[in-house]
């Protein structure tokens, strides 16, 4: 029996509506319980797998996917801020819930029962694997690919596999792809793209000096990578000092800019976001709007966020892989303060703690580490002992460790490096005590 087209269409709309209503109901229930951010999305996704396609493909300015190992959350937030500063309505997934379900969960409160989203463009952060699953359902119009580093090898198995995921995502993108010219794994993706897809690059100006190496050494030196010379469409970072920088597009400069978030990695993320904004907005891109947006954007929680505890700043730094931890130590090493490190080994942290041995902790040697915590706190302390970094105490319980750490250094700024689930847990404690924004309620 064939279903008449009109009936199929009606059935399709009903299905979408049912999915959205069920998702909204779950979201409401989850809020009452104070539950996780992806659950409502899971419910809606089960009812209508095409919900995403239906809702997102109608957005007039398209769908931007931001992916890569490090800096997704920060860069997505910056890009959304720049685009919003141009008067454009942006739908994004600001809770760091970077799986497909998380996108649907973020969408539910903003979508009408017929599946219409009050936005002009979607800017979505997705991890490498979920980006690819997402692209099977929704064709991204733009992709911004940041870097490939060893991250959670227990999940993605191999760095080559991760690079291939990003290459497949790029090949599925319809309009433009923005690539990191300094990351060989990412820059190489340009060669495999179909004709008609525009390629732009971002990176650190090759002429800028004193910039530490940020990317994994690519062991396949056999196939020499040639990145084309920068064009005026490519964004190049020019750091002026530790805090100020500008981004140059040929003769045009965006800057000077000073971010709330410190460090070279944040500057590179800003360069990536600004280059992608130019790709998206074309002639409508306005440097002043981008500068203003970048100056105002706050670090996402746990990414260099500063929390005031007993009158002293406590800096919360998420670390999740060797490249990220190395950059974080380089960023903060110049200003040593009492330091705590919390390492968990749940799925979201990476279950294999081997990666700690690919980070050099020598910059912590003079100051020492006041506290190691998390389920793998002893493994962290053991790792530090091989770099001759003194450790004052190990307390595996996160809350107890935080209390001892803050009590031991009442009159001093402090810093806390932590893996993902340790960060979530510690931030919940800090939020309860110091009245921070709740998860999912952060200003967009």
């Amino acid at each position: 029996m064939t279903v008449p087209a009109a009936e199929a269409r009606v059935w399709g709309v009903l299905r979408t509506t049912a999915a959205i209503l069920a998702g909204k109901a779950t979201r409401y229930a989850a809020r009452l319980r104070g539950g996780g951010s992806a659950a409502p999305g899971l419910v809606a996704e089960r009812i209508d797998p095409r919900l995403l396609a239906h809702t997102l493909s109608s957005l007039p300015l398209g769908v931007v996917v931001v992916s890569g190992t490090n800096g997704k959350t920060t860069t997505t937030k910056m890009l959304a801020a720049i685009v919003r500063a141009h008067g454009i309505r942006v739908f994004t997934n600001p809770t760091g819930s970077n799986f497909t379900r998380g996108v649907i969960s973020a969408m539910l409160p903003e979508v009408s029962p017929t599946g219409r989203l009050a936005a002009d463009v979607a800017i979505l952060e997705l991890d490498e694997w979920h980006a690819l699953q997402f692209a099977k359902v929704v064709t991204p119009t733009h992709a911004l690919l940041l870097n490939v580093a060893r991250d959670q090898l227990d999940r993605f198995a191999e760095i080559d596999t991760t690079a291939r995921l990003l290459a497949t995502l790029a090949a599925a993108t319809s309009s433009s792809v923005v690539l990191n010219r300094d990351d060989a794994f990412v820059a190489r993706i340009a060669a495999g793209l179909p004709d008609g897809v525009e390629v732009r690059y971002f990176g650190v100006d090759p002429l800028a000096t004193d910039v530490p190496a940020l990317h994994e050494a690519d062991v396949r030196f056999g196939d020499e990578l040639v990145v084309p010379d920068p064009t005026p469409r490519d964004g190049l970072l020019h750091p002026q000092d530790a805090r100020d920088f500008e981004i140059r597009f040929g003769e045009q400069a965006v800057g000077p800019v000073r971010l709330h978030q410190r460090g070279l990695a944040a500057m590179i993320n800003a360069t990536a976001a600004t280059t992608a904004a130019q790709a998206l907005l074309g002639r409508d891109f306005r440097p002043e709007a981008a500068i203003e947006a970048l100056r105002a954007v706050r670090p996402p929680f746990g990414r260099g966020e500063v929390i005031v505890v007993d009158g002293q700043p406590l800096e919360l730094v998420l670390v999740k892989n060797p490249a990220g931890f190395t950059v974080a130590l380089g960023t903060y090493g110049a200003e040593p303060v009492p330091t705590m490190i919390a390492i968990n080994d749940d799925y979201a942290d990476g279950q294999d703690v081997s990666w700690l041995y690919d980070v050099s902790f020598e910059s912590l040697r003079s100051q020492g580490v006041a506290m190691c915590s998390g389920v793998r706190g002893y493994d962290m302390a053991l790792r530090l002992s091989y770099d001759d970094v003194p450790v004052d105490a190990v307390e595996l319980d996160l809350q107890a460790a935080l209390d001892r750490f803050t009590a031991a250094y009442p009159g001093s700024p402090k810093r806390l490096f932590c893996t993902y689930t340790a960060m979530m847990s510690l931030r919940r404690t800090l939020a309860a005590r110091h009245g921070l924004a709740q998860f999912g309620e952060e200003d967009a």
Binding site: E158, I159, G222, D352, Y357, Y378, L382
Partner: protein, 256 residues
């Protein structure tokens, strides 16, 4: 002539110099394998010996002196880059292994120290044959925490491999699996050991949290380097003991 990467000296008088060779640190040391070299070098020095660390790269001359060898895991692209060199130094490696030189080969290098690796599509890639093992490529990976009983006592770490390895008749395993998959997930063995050559899938990295294995390798290396028995210093391994025993308890509890 190859140049050592570092020459580390103890604070007190030296009891002799041990030459440690890391095979292919660029191509075959993903998953923190560098930590094993770091651990061996640090412990050799803490025990009162000098440690000369050599990085052996493809195409370079193999160091004249080699008392202890370390090799790690890699990706397919890394393995294909070292194949030709491994063939070139195969004679030397076999002679050293036969002579009792201690070697620790993890994951990818463990497989290459075996007889052969047979890919998904049935292609047989010959190995060095220093260990009597054969590995077949599989589509599912064996990933997770692992606990073993070995001649060095309980060993804990993390395995992450898609190759399933089978021991030849008479080949001793490195250990018996108490939690995790091991060589192939079915016969309860993990790794292989012939004289002082150990191959296994244990990352973590294996040595920092299991210092008995590290000191076992060092003892054999010292005897070879100095002609005298190993004279260990008393090292404080309290952190390693805590890290190891807690992780073993967690994994055995989860598997129970």
């Amino acid at each position: 002539m190859s140049m050592p990467r570092a020459h580390l000296r103890p604070t007190g008088p030296s009891k002799g110099a041990v030459h440690l060779v890391h095979l292919y640190p660029r191509e075959m040391s993903i998953y923190g394998d560098l930590g094993n070299t770091r651990c061996l070098a640090a412990r050799i020095v803490r025990h009162g010996y000098e440690c000369v660390v050599h990085d052996h790269h493809p195409g370079a001359d193999f160091p004249e002196q080699a008392h202890l060898l370390m090799g790690g895991g890699g990706q397919d692209s890394g393995q294909s880059r070292v194949e030709a060199d491994l063939e070139a130094i195969a004679g030397r490696l076999r002679a050293l292994a036969g002579d009792g030189v201690p070697m620790l080969m993890i994951c990818g290098m463990y497989q290459m120290f075996g007889h052969a690796f047979i890919t998904h599509d049935g292609v047989e890639l010959p190995g060095l044959g220093i260990l009597d093992v054969t590995t077949r490529g599989q589509s599912t990976r064996m990933i997770g925490g692992i606990v073993l009983d070995t001649d060095f006592g309980e060993v804990v770490g993390f395995e992450n491999h898609s190759g399933a390895t089978v021991l030849g008749t008479g080949q001793a395993p490195f250990g018996r699996v108490r939690a995790g998959h091991g060589n192939n997930g079915t016969d309860g063995t993990e790794g292989a050991r012939t004289a002082n050559v150990i191959g296994c899938y244990v990352h973590g990295p294996i040595l920092p949290a299991n210092p008995a294995v590290a000191d076992g390798l060092i003892a054999a290396a010292v005897e070879r380097a100095t002609g005298r028995a190993f004279e260990p210093a008393q090292l404080d391994d309290a952190l390693a003991t805590q890290a190891r025993t807690r992780q073993i308890a967690r994994l055995l509890r989860a598997g129970a």
